[in-house]
């Protein structure tokens, strides 16, 4: 099953890690020693797509650091083929 994701797509894991770190710096995380929250947004691996890529889901809080998001398809091992296959970004 493929779904359309709004977010940021990376074809190298190192770049995804670098972008994640950029968000961490921009958001001043972690706030305190021993805090649970260490990322603002994490990346996920599109392991069922070939070639494999990595992506972050968009949230409006990320635009300033990450720029304009794009739409791309991700394959999931899900059950349902129903709906338009589009996962809305957070907050919508």
């Amino acid at each position: 099953m493929q779904k359309i994701i709004t977010g940021y797509q990376f074809f190298e894991k190192e770049i995804a890690t670098e972008k994640r770190s950029g968000l961490v710096i921009a958001k001043g995380l972690p706030r305190g020693k021993g805090d649970v929250t260490i990322y603002w947004q994490d990346y996920e691996e599109a392991a069922f797509d070939k070639p494999t890529f990595w992506y972050m889901r968009y949230d409006e809080s990320m635009g300033k650091t990450m720029g304009k998001p794009s739409e791309f398809k991700v394959t999931f091992p899900g059950e349902s083929e129903e709906g338009d296959g589009k996962i809305p970004p957070k907050g919508e």
């Binding site: 099953m1 779904k3 958001k27 001043g28 995380l29 972690p30 706030r31 305190g32 021993g34 805090d35 649970v36 929250t37 260490i38 990322y39 603002w40 947004q41 994490d42 996920e44 889901r57 949230d59 809080s61 991700v74 999931f76 091992p77 899900g78 059950e79 349902s80 129903e82 709906g83 996962i87 809305p88 970004p89 957070k90």
Partner: protein
Amino acid sequence: MAVGNGMGIGIPMVNLGLGGGGGGGTGFLLDDYPNTTGHSYSLRQLSASTTNVVRVRRTSDNAEQDFTATGLTDGTLDLFCGEEQGYVAKWYDQSNSLNVYNFTALQQPLIYHGEEGGLLLQNGKPCMEFDGVDDTLQVLLPAPYASSYYLFAVNAFVGPIGEDKYYIYGLNDPGAINPTQMSSYINQTLPVTELKLRGTSDLVGTMTTNPTLQSLYYNRQIDSPVAQSVVNVNGQNISSLAANGAKDINTIYIGSNTIPDGHSKIRLQEFILYLADPASNATAIESNINTHYSIY
């Protein structure tokens, strides 16, 4: 990463019976019905020795703070979050310190909305809301677990429920493809709400109550003497199956079925996973929970 365990130091305390009652015991659920090998997450105090129940991150400056059950409702959380939002960074295990958490700010469930009433409540009691996009709380088990389990969950699916499945939890198998999970959805051909439990096969039961209302789910997965999967909703058995496939699990996911797009918009208040058979106490546990939450 924080290592707090939410438990007291073991100082004997007089149990004043403030834990919500039910079942005619001492009051706190875990004191009456110990979960010594399992994991117990709740926004209420489940044991006399429990201190913190949850850690909250506020959006104003991303600061985090631990809260007792009382601290959620006595104004302490209001003082901490003010007009901003509060998200659950960690939900303390009141049994065995295997806390569920999320490292990622945008994937933490909401517990406080400063501009819309403050602490989130479901049927008058504190709850946390998972957004259905990517929110989860999760933890890796110390070792893969492949035996019977007994789950009690107080949950409301945030409507409208559609034909897609809305999950309460996933217990990930090491292969990660076929998680055990509990969900609810409207069947396309039947005007009924159903509950599905999925291992390698499905367990379907027809609910007679609206899953968008606060409900108590009890899921019993037994290996022996006869493999059996049973689901009760609000004290009523809705389905039983002779066997339901593999139960080998290595991760607890809450708010998701463990598959990347398997997230659900739910309001959760309690999630108690017994790994030892509560046997005849199961009914009393359901009663204790219902007495506290006034579900049915």
